[in-house]
């Protein structure tokens, strides 16, 4: 595999292997601390990020490699009008692997066609975010111990929620997985995700606007933020931003072993009072991001430890 643009670039076996390596890194971090010595990761973030960029950089540093890049389109030549294709052609000469985030959907695909080194999609607009899915899956494996026979509730912005699209693509490959899609009418899951990942695999799903009704049946609740940056019209954002707020009262409706995931950052969709609930797994989830990205970098650079 040269590039990771869509989570389906990885087979379920690839994902199992990555999770196995990530777990070995968690158990034996010293074994990996020089695995990528003299290798350089470029983090090209044309859109702001905290967790994804820092976890990529932390991952490479913990593998003994180096990082370079930018965290804002204003601080690179794109602000002078340079195309993504040209930027990538240049950076290919400076780095061994590229992690790229871009507000435009499909930008990493363009990058992959021009790069001479592996390209990882670190989020493209409201489209896909495969490395968040790997993080989610490492968390699910730790918290639930399986990927099959799970009822997964996805709540909030399912239209522009790139983490949701990639998670559905990945999890719809496992037997007995059912999705409950909880969103306001305007932020429902796009047709291409339903058609290509749910309908084509015969995966069961229901759509609802009621979080309360959905909660009792869920094994996993995946909350998402209504993303201000995806709206062209602020009025629409203001009308929809408080659609769902998870509170300790609502958590009383959930199973005792349900887990709450969130790709973060959150705004107000999960009350901070929920953080103390042991079922709130989102900060544990964020920590797993570094380990799975370490495993991914090793795989893409074909480094064996």
């Amino acid at each position: 595999m040269k590039n990771l643009i869509n989570i389906l670039d990885l087979s379920t076996k690839d994902i199992d292997d990555l999770i196995a390596v990530a777990n070995d890194i968690i158990a034996n971090p010293e074994k990996y601390q020089e695995a990528c010595k003299h290798k350089v990761l470029a983090t090209l973030f044309f859109e702001p990020s905290t967790r994804t960029r820092l976890s990529f950089e932390s991952a490479m540093l913990h593998l003994g490699g180096s990082v370079l890049g930018f965290s804002d389109a204003a601080s690179c030549s794109v602000s002078k009008g340079e195309s993504v294709a040209d930027t990538i052609s240049v950076v290919s000469g400076y780095a061994d692997i590229i992690a790229m985030r871009h507000p435009k959907e499909g930008a990493p695909m363009i990058a992959a066609t021009r790069a001479t080194v592996p390209v990882i999609n670190a989020g493209d607009g409201g489209h896909f975010h495969p490395t968040q899915t790997l993080t989610d899956m490492l968390t699910i494996q730790h918290e639930k111990g399986r990927f099959d026979h799970l009822t997964i509730g996805l709540c909030g912005d399912l239209k522009f929620g790139r983490t949701v699209h990639s998670l559905i693509a990945a999890m719809s490959r496992y037997e007995g997985v059912k999705f409950v899609l909880i969103s306001p009418e305007e932020l429902k899951l796009p047709g291409f995700v339903k058609q290509e990942y749910l309908d084509s695999t015969g995966t069961e799903y229901v759509e609802t606007s009621s979080l309360d009704e959905a909660l009792p049946q869920l094994d996993i609740l995946y909350m998402t933020r209504v993303q201000k940056e995806r709206f062209f019209n602020e009025e629409d954002y203001l009308r929809l931003k408080d659609s769902y707020i998870l509170t300790p009262d609502k958590m009383k409706l959930a199973k005792s072993d349900m887990i709450v995931l969130h790709p973060l950052p959150r705004v107000n969709e999960i009350s901070t009072a929920v953080d103390a609930d042991p079922r709130a797994a989102y900060f544990r989830q964020a920590a797993y991001g570094k380990y799975i990205r370490m495993a991914l970098i090793l795989k893409m650079l074909e480094v064996r430890v």
Partner: protein, 140 residues
Amino acid sequence: MNIDSIKNGLVIDHITAGKAMRIYDMLHLGELDCQVAIIKNAHSTKMGKKDIIKIDSAIDIDLDVLGYMSPHITVDVIRDGQRVEKKHIELPETLTNILRCKNPRCITTTEQEIPHIFRLANAEKREYRCIYCDTKASNL
């Protein structure tokens, strides 16, 4: 209504009624020097009504455009007044630079040089999606 037969050229037949002008534009037939005839609403036993385009010159045309535009379309190749080939046009797997993506969040809106490519996502529904952002193409 009489329209002269052509000696060397193409007959694009079985066009869904009403789509001939769009095909004329998309194939840039207005730029040709030769005779081009558009027949609208011709009688068809199979289709009821159909459009036909006759081109009095053996030009190369983009068959992908035809396959996308109209499901039953055929192209007769005429040489010395005789039909020498009848092409049945399939739905193409990809369309390059025929459609433009309408999604304002798509990378094609900012990268000027890249080709606009759509893939066939559902043959039954004749549905195409942008390869970059997966947005559905609007029907022509």
